[in-house]
Symmetry: C2
């Protein structure tokens, strides 16, 4: 529709000024990385573990990290023939040895156990892995990371700034991060977009005309069909879609963000405005102006990591909406907020109450056996208001079982298909609060969520 | 499902006792018919109109009239080659001459003008018609009637009682009458059913397994396809469906009535119980127990015959429901009542109010031109609550134009597609009253309607 001007250089510079690590930041990072490598080597020697390599991976190692982030990924690679159990025991032993000099340490678990430490102010993951010959032959999902690292390092040279611009641009659009909470773009995915399109500007322009099914295969080696909205074939593994975690809505939000930005290239697309918590007074005003019904299902947040929690919360959100729809309530929208100690599923309805009378439409009169059974059932039932024939079908006006959405949720929500930990928490107790009662929930982060919600 | 016992003879006798004309009634009818024939002949002679025949048609002439009805149809038939205008002028002149001895006379109009008179307490139609060679060659719809009369008279002999039983049984089920108000079974249709099935009992048993598309072609001479639920090919005209005016719901009500009756043959299926007007107190109780929204659109009844009025009222009922649905109101059911001076369209809704906020779902984000237009339209609009992307589509929360059903009807009903006279009356003024305000409508017949409605 429009012809876009190029993105002004001074806008890019203004963004980079804020997000590109300074020389001083880089030096500190280099020093810390070297110290960590030395610590790992020393620990391995001390524990008599031979034939391991230390590898710095992740954005810090590739020069594509955003200023202010302090993440370092240290991979401790073992020969491919190492037994899985030996790798776990020796790898964690080395990591724990390194952790003796850390400010904090915490066991974590992906496919393998690994150690997360805070070391000189950096958030460091110490991850044991196998040294496999290629990413197609991996023994564990983390074994891929060193291959990603190599691919990016050899292809990104000179375009690190474009990666930084893109990462920050995605942050500004709320689509950066591949965790199951965000369902957006991972760092590696962002880097591949820059490698494929050559620059931030080209990538943004290209995305404006993306459609679901968009496929990018840098190595032209795809071996699989994929159904996700965006398919970026992993250059190190022809079977894998790097964008598998990207949801349709994040995909579309990114397209929209690119179009809006090109039509009017401004700093605000990189740095979203601060959202203030919604005050009680504003909340009441908004409820009064919308005149819809707001329901908040409140329960104790299960004590699990976000990648376990959020899929369960999204499932619950869908289940609650399906339950309400099944019982004739019209859902306008649903939302999820989770904090400590509480989690809230928000549901906005056309109305939280329905009449007592409910119309039950039966089979056509001429489908004799079924229609006679239907008629007999409701003629004998209690609390039937009346019956008639409409459009050739028996119709009975019966008593609605759940005339309020609150009553329905209170009685039936625990019977919905919920994830394990969420089901457990909900079973232990939950509350459904309505409309102005939502003022009771004071958490400032929830109130930020509410401002976007209403 | 069940095996039915035959209909008890004493039940049939009990019905016939009430509906079969007595010997005295028959004698009076014969005398009056003969007097009318003589009057017509004398009038024709007086007016020097030659070559006309007088024909008594209708149920009175066929011995299939229900006791207590006082209808006589007198057809004055002219030679086929008569000019239409001559027929109208001479026919009406003869009728008016006869009317000089009547208690009351009124001009009426079908395809031709005819005269309705009250003569010795009987309701008499004096109808000029053409004497055509067969019902297939008719010059006017009324020319058919004498052929119907002949066919029934030669085939019904000995089964007149079965016709009376069936007519009364249909009355009891609320499906007797082919006027556009009732959309049920005509007298001729009832007679054909008895001729085809041989008896009341056989017809009732057969109807239990009718389905839409049921076809009866006594003469095996059908020349047309028909789409109506019941097709009874006219024995005197292979192109015509005698049951064309029967609605799907009356068709199904009759099937249902037959099944219920055979399962439990009782007098109540012939004589429905008297329904009392609903009192204010009962009305309020019912409103409170249903908790739905009741809307009554009240306007002056147009001064036209029922066959013109009711199709327009049914059209208005549909139009009002369609309007409400278009603006997101959920209609439970609709109804029509018409009296003097007022007509009421009743509408029962899930709720008469909706929230201010309305969700407008746009095209998918990747359908660029359409989705950008959609977004631009709503982003610039006033009173937009917010926008987001859901399931790949732009969604905007906009201000609902009509948050109350009453307001919507008041503003938009006159713009609906309405029949001529109803549109005129509604344009001159109407009122929408809600829930307990319905108590204001006091007409006892309306209150009888309300008892069935609620």
């Amino acid at each position: 529709m429009e012809t876009y001007t190029s993105i002004p250089e001074d806008l890019k510079l203004a963004v980079l000024e804020k997000v590109k690590p300074t020389e001083a930041e880089r030096k500190i990072l280099t020093v810390v990385q070297e110290e960590l490598a030395a610590e790992v080597t020393a620990a391995a020697e001390k524990l008599c573990v031979s034939d391991i390599f230390v590898k710095m991976v992740g954005s810090a190692a590739r020069g594509t990290w955003l200023s202010g982030t302090h993440d370092i990924d240290v991979f401790i690679s073992f020969p491919e023939e190492t037994h899985r159990r030996d790798l776990e025991i020796s790898g964690m032993a080395i990591a724990r040895e390194v952790a003796k000099h850390a400010e904090h340490a915490e066991d974590r678990h992906a496919e393998h156990p690994y150690l997360n430490i805070v070391f000189k102010g950096f958030d460091v993951d110490l991850v044991p892995c196998f040294r496999v010959a290629s990413a197609c032959q991996l023994k564990s999902a983390v074994d891929r990371t060193p291959f990603h690292n190599e691919f990016v390092k050899t292809h990104i040279k000179g375009r690190e700034d474009d990666v930084l611009l893109m990462k920050q641009f995605m942050r500004g659009g709320g689509v950066y991060g591949s965790e199951l909470r965000t369902q957006g773009f991972s760092g590696y995915l962002t880097e591949l977009l820059i490698i494929h399109y050559g620059s931030f500007e080209n990538a943004v322009k290209a995305a404006c005309i993306w459609r679901p099914g968009q496929k990018i295969d840098i190595m032209q080696h795809s071996e699989m069909g994929h159904t996700e909205p965006l398919v970026i074939v992993d250059p190190t593994d022809p079977k894998r879609n790097v964008a598998a975690a990207l949801s349709l809505d994040r995909f579309c939000m990114f397209i929209d963000h690119c179009r809006e930005f090109l039509a009017n290239p401004e700093l605000k697309f990189f740095f979203s405005a601060l959202v203030l918590p919604l005050e009680d007074k504003e909340l009441l005003e908004k409820l009064d102006s919308r005149k819809s019904s707001q329901l908040a299902v409140v329960f104790k947040t299960p004590d699990v990591v976000e990648d376990v929690l959020y899929p369960q919360l999204y499932k619950m959100e869908q289940a609650a909406a399906a339950l309400l729809n099944e019982y004739d309530f019209s859902v306008i929208k649903t939302g999820v907020w989770s904090g400590k100690p509480e989690t809230v599923i928000m549901l906005e309805l056309i109305s939280g109450t329905l009449p007592n009378v409910k119309k039950r439409i039966g089979p056509p009169v001429w489908v004799r056996e079924h229609s006679e059974k239907f008629k007999a059932k409701y003629e004998e039932a209690e609390n039937v208001f009346g019956g008639y024939i409409e459009n050739g079908k028996y119709v009975f006006e019966i008593q609605r079982k759940y005339p309020t959405a609150k009553g329905l949720l209170e009685e039936q929500l625990v019977n919905c298909s919920l994830g394990k930990q969420v089901h457990q928490s909900v079973s232990e107790g939950f509350e459904v609060i309505e409309d102005a009662e939502v003022c009771r929930l004071k958490d400032p982060d929830f109130r930020v969520f509410l401002r976007k919600w209403l």
